[in-house]
Subunit: 348 residues, 2 copies
């Protein structure tokens, strides 16, 4: 049994509460399964920035590269400009480690109230292209401050980039209900979207058990509210996926419990697992944080490391703690972060 | 009393049913108010395309330019490629006539069921920049079909373009609850968004009674589902506004009844009024179409032409017909298109 080396960046705000909570559960799971985890903690984030003027050391990526996975809480604080905290840590990790898939489950859980009137269960996987597209470095501003000032942003899609995202999404769909929905905007003026459509179609043809539907992103957003239970796997570009996945979580009422995985599916580089929520400085340090998003991200990490049974065990444990009414206050429950964590440990 | 010349393009599919229905109501309203309307009908759309290979004649824009407003049903049919039907009619009209505002009310109506569990009333105006941004002609593809194929799309924002959209939105907010929310994505990598933020902030400063909040579009999409009743006026770029406005309509359950105005606020060129829904070929010709989106667009047209009382009269009439249960089947009512129209005419 080989040991998985995991880099832990608790980061800022409630990251410092939910990460220890999730690690407690992961360690308990590891005792009961043929899984060996080694956690190396990195005290990076806004405090590090205050001292060193950077979010992580110059050789931060090299240090992380020696790990199989990165388990991140949240980075960001009112004292550090967003551009610094993102460009100084999260974005370089996503890009340098070719984490070209951002995977976000959107699922109704007992004990988490959806804002929708319908109680139909929802179970969607959103696959977001995580490396290219609308998030490109190319662009800038001309004639700053003058009446004819202009700002441009180049969106760049490559065949390689789109095809590998489509492959990932199609093979995921093949392992589920076989329905893949691709978010597009090719009825408009946007040159990159017909290209996206073409490559997604060509790629999906290699998966005979998968039915592909291309849906205009405006209509798709509406359908995520009107009939979210009809979706199985959704694949979308970087920006569209960013919007659709937050929207999806909101529909299940679970933004506070939603997990995400930034994956390098080949395993050439470490993948990163983090909850969708941020550092939430307003509630930090009060025992109010909901650790489910972090625990769920931990379950995704176990799955990525090749331990589906251990992952399932952890998942069932926090789902049952929620179902039994042990949730934190944001989901209408009575528990503090540590009380809820104790309930999950007990359920394990 | 001067006569307003209105160009009518019923277009395709259910456009041919809902436009006559709305015109019947507009004519009745005109009899009761100091309003004189002259409707000139243009038989453009997919049938015209089948005969002439184009969506409208070569001098179509010149013909339209002689009118104060354009009242459009829907264009689009399975027999005409989207690119043709849009680029051949709708997009040139939006751009040549400098209709730089796309205004979309998002409002709960009695008799239209929202998919949300909460019954809190919603009343939002979404102001979408309608001429520039992500929808630019600049872009294309290189290395077609090869493994290193690349597609690019240039997003272009100008100070003029952003400022005039922000002015429109801020003055609208000033006439309502004074709350303006701007959709941004400036925490990411997108160069144009910090520019958008800057120009929107500078412009809003000229409206001391308006409070501006910039919200990340992913969070904003989620909030439109979780607490839509907290918004007043939302301003967004072309693509973000496209997504948010369909999303907004879905939250009120009213995609079928949602109206839109493509405005040239200065009145140098005709503005265009059309429902949000499309030509819906599947239900066309069956008397099933809901004419409320078209009627509501007609009310927006009356307002734009300087007749707020007439607009209000029409609005109250279709709202009361809905409230009294005369809705069409899509909103759970018993009526055909013409039965519902008769109920509105009676209410007028
Ligand atoms: C048809 C399409 C180009 C259009 C848009 O994206 O502007 C439509 O979705 C709309 O919102 O009017
Ligand atoms: C922080 C930001 C750059 C990021 C994104 O847009 O990718 C976030 O919204 C996310 O979804 O992880």
């Amino acid at each position: 049994m080989s040991t998985h080396k995991i880099a832990v960046i608790a980061g800022d705000g409630i990251g410092k509460e939910v990460v220890p909570a999730a690690i407690e559960c992961l360690e308990r799971i590891a005792e009961l399964h043929p899984v060996s985890l080694e956690f190396n903690h990195f005290g990076w984030g806004s405090h590090y920035y205050a001292e060193h003027g950077r979010m992580m050391p110059r050789d931060g990526l090299e240090q992380l590269a020696e790990h199989e996975a990165i388990f991140l809480g949240a980075v960001g604080s009112p004292s550090v400009p967003d551009a610094e905290s993102l460009w100084g840590l999260l974005i370089p990790i996503r890009r340098e480690f070719q984490q070209y898939i951002n995977l976000r489950p959107v699922k109704t859980l007992d004990g988490v109230k959806s804002p929708l009137a319908s109680k139909e269960p929802i179970d969607i996987l959103i696959v977001r292209e995580n490396n290219e597209g609308e998030y490109s470095e190319v662009g800038g501003r001309a004639y700053r401050g003058l009446p004819h000032e202009t700002a441009v942003q180049e969106t760049i899609f490559t065949r390689l980039g789109v095809a590998r995202a489509a492959h990932y999404a199609a093979s995921l769909a093949a392992s589920r209900k076989g329905r893949l929905t691709s978010a597009t905007k090719s009825n408009g003026i946007i040159h990159t979207m017909p290209f996206w459509d073409e490559v997604v179609e060509e790629t999906t043809r290699l998966y005979p058990d998968v039915t592909l539907t291309s849906e205009l992103v405006d209509a798709l957003a509406a359908h995520l509210v009107l009939k979210p239970w009809t979706f199985d796997v959704i694949v979308a570009s970087n920006l569209l996926g960013d919007i659709l996945s937050d929207l999806g979580s909101s529909v299940t009422g679970s933004i506070g419990v939603a997990p995400s995985a930034n994956l390098n599916p080949e395993g050439d580089f470490p993948s990163l697992f983090e909850p969708v929520h941020g550092s939430a400085p307003d509630i930090a340090g009060k025992g109010l944080a909901n650790p489910v998003g972090q625990m769920w991200s931990g379950a995704m990490m176990l799955r990525h490391l090749g331990h589906p049974e251990a992952a399932e065990h952890l998942q069932l444990a926090f789902e049952s703690a929620l179902r039994e009414g042990h949730g934190t206050r944001d989901v209408g429950g009575p528990s503090s972060t540590s009380e809820f964590t104790a309930a999950v440990v007990a359920a394990i």
